[in-house]
Amino acid sequence: MNWRSRLVIDAQHHLKWRALDGLEALTMVVCGICLIGFSTSVFFDVLTRTIGSPWLWLQEVTSTFFVYGIFIGAAAATRRNDHLYLSAITETMHGMARRLVETFNRGVVLAVGFCMTYFGYINFLQGFGNFRMPSMTPLASYYAVIPISGALIMLFTVEQLWNGWRNGFESAKAEPERVLSYE
């Protein structure tokens, strides 16, 4: 297996543009980098505290990697259809009923993505007037991830809507069994 096939999921390919596969791979890599980043910063945080000369700014680095990982991961999970669902009712539907429900569901996600982008951007702009202690970095650097995540979620949702209406939301062939969960 090459890197690309391990980073870009093959399921529901009829809902995807190949041009965005690279973006999915990039978001996955960012998730991994964020995990490695905050693991490393927590490690050095513990180490420097233990030796008696703590680097206080490491806590800011940790929380930044942590929060960026969550929101970028949420965007990646939108394209990969890896989010948590309460039901898979749409998968039992066919024809126009399915098309309408899938469209409605993605409309809800699109609206949420829009709110994250627009109101998140307002927060981002306001964040230049507030600073994180002790490094005095503008809070905007922290808030930037919400509009980024919102924009990616919107992009991936539009991609699924467009291709869903062109190719149908139902898969032509059976999807491989795949469950990604944490509990």
Partner: protein
């Protein structure tokens, strides 16, 4: 517009969107945004609330425990723990069914995730059980039920989230979870012994066989010792303990047990990087939902209903909460349920004068039970899917096992002293005890 109406609308929208197939996190956010439009709260401040939900040092433990489980599973070193379980109890009636339960207890001490447990057991022991004649429904039911122990026996991701959002000692919840975890384990073993299929019983292992199996499994079994030992000695917080366990696996366990896996590590990090974002974006959304619930005075209204029915009797309050959470757990994922309803739980904990760790253990046990109840029994859904049996068949075979969970929950409610015995003696501060001014021992709340 009345706050009661907005509350109902928000809850209805969340469930309606969720059951139509909108991801849980987006259903929650959509419900909150509609409620925001009907209140004087500004949209940017509600979006910023998503941050506040995950800006917590304690929640950093979640990815570390997930990473521990992922590394142990993908590096394929859990086979040694299965061999040890087999050597210890493979000769009992029920054979592999007993091994499944004991292995789950061991693995629960490492991963904190039922899904990881289900994935490992369905890949490793389920095929052997099938060859030995166990019916697929029983295999799925037992694996799903045993996997719930991952949320009870420390380290538990549910306990981390509960502690972080409810301001309850996570170490106390870890220690308190041992009693229901072991009760569920013993209950499942008793059920398999008396009522389960006979299975294929292996000859009793010799002392040397047991010793060798224990020696082979020693390196992975150090992980629970690192995690709990570090927390209990006060050397690490749960987050730091998770990190130290990750470092131990990367530096010691994988190089010693499966060094070829080193080249796969980047993918393990990438996969876990995605995996941790899924519950935590739900935590972010649920905390915004919980904030709105509190703003609309939802906890006051619900606790008024419950105290109207139960007065201030702690046991009745707990039974009503358990009944509510059995229903809630059937429809809503455990993590958002904890966060959304935490203000209500806290309020009722105060009214009933209940120890917060005791309440936490009871709620977590109830939500762990929700992992095998329909329609949203995630562990049972996964186990049925991986074992390749219809969900309804697995559900019917899991019904008798519900008795084990009811007994464990009832035991926890009626015997708080037993549940709190370990935390009270190992980490007294975690259950509200404080050092006696006389300098001899601790004074604990009754």
């Amino acid at each position: 517009m009345s706050s009661g109406f907005i509350l109902l609308l928000m809850g209805f929208l969340f469930l309606a969107f969720g059951y139509l197939g909108v991801p849980v996190a987006f259903s929650l956010i959509a419900g909150v945004l509609v409620a925001t439009a009907l209140t004087p709260i500004s949209f940017p401040s509600m979006i910023a609330q998503l941050f506040n939900g995950v800006d917590s040092e304690a929640l950093l433990a979640v990815p570390f425990f997930l990473l521990v489980g992922e590394l142990m599973t993908s590096a394929n070193v859990v086979g040694r723990m299965i061999n040890l379980s087999q050597a210890m109890i493979g000769h009992l009636r029920g054979g592999l069914a007993q091994v499944v339960t004991l292995f789950s207890m061991f693995f629960s001490g490492i991963s904190g995730s039922s899904s990881a447990d289900v994935a490992v057991l369905t890949r490793t022991l389920a095929p052997s059980m099938g060859r030995e004649g166990y019916d697929a429904g029983f295999i799925a039911a037992l694996i799903a039920s045993a996997s719930t122990m991952a949320n009870l026996i420390p380290p538990s991701i549910m306990a981390v989230v509960y502690g972080a959002t409810g301001n309850v000692s996570i170490a106390g919840l870890f220690l308190g979870g041992i009693v229901p975890g072991v009760l569920v384990g013993i209950g499942l073993m008793i059920y398999s012994y008396f009522f389960g299929p006979v299975g294929h019983m292996t000859p009793r292992s010799s002392f040397m066989g047991l010793f060798n199996a224990a020696k082979d499994a020693a390196l992975p079994l150090v992980i629970p010792v690192i995690i709990m030992g570090g927390i209990l000695t006060g050397w690490f917080t749960p987050t730091e303990a998770g990190l130290v366990a990750v470092v131990y696996i990367l530096v010691v366990a994988i190089p010693c047990l499966n060094w070829r896996h080193v080249s796969e590590l980047p993918f393990d990090f990438i996969k876990t990087g995605l995996l941790y974002s899924i519950p935590l974006i739900t935590v972010a959304a649920a905390s915004a939902f919980g904030w709105m619930l509190a703003y609309l005075r939802g906890p006051d209204q619900v606790s008024e209903w419950i105290t109207h029915a139960a007065g201030t009797d702690p046991r009745t309050i707990m039974f009503l909460l358990v009944a509510a959470f059995v229903i809630i757990g059937d429809f809503v994922d455990a993590i958002p349920a904890i966060i959304i309803f935490m203000p209500i739980i806290n309020k009722l904990t105060d009214i009933g004068g209940i120890n917060p760790v005791h309440m936490g253990v009871v709620i977590i046990t109830t939500l762990a039970f929700g992992l095998i109840t329909p329609p949203y029994g995630l562990a049972l859904l996964m186990a049925a899917k991986f074992v390749d049996v219809r969900f309804s068949v697995a559900l019917v075979r899991s019904l008798p096992l519900y008795v084990v969970f009811f007994a464990a929950i009832a035991f926890c409610i009626f015997f708080p002293d037993v549940v709190l015995w370990i935390p009270k003696h190992v980490l007294p501060e975690s259950v509200g005890c404080f050092k006696s001014p006389a300098g001899t021992g601790y004074i604990c709340p009754t």
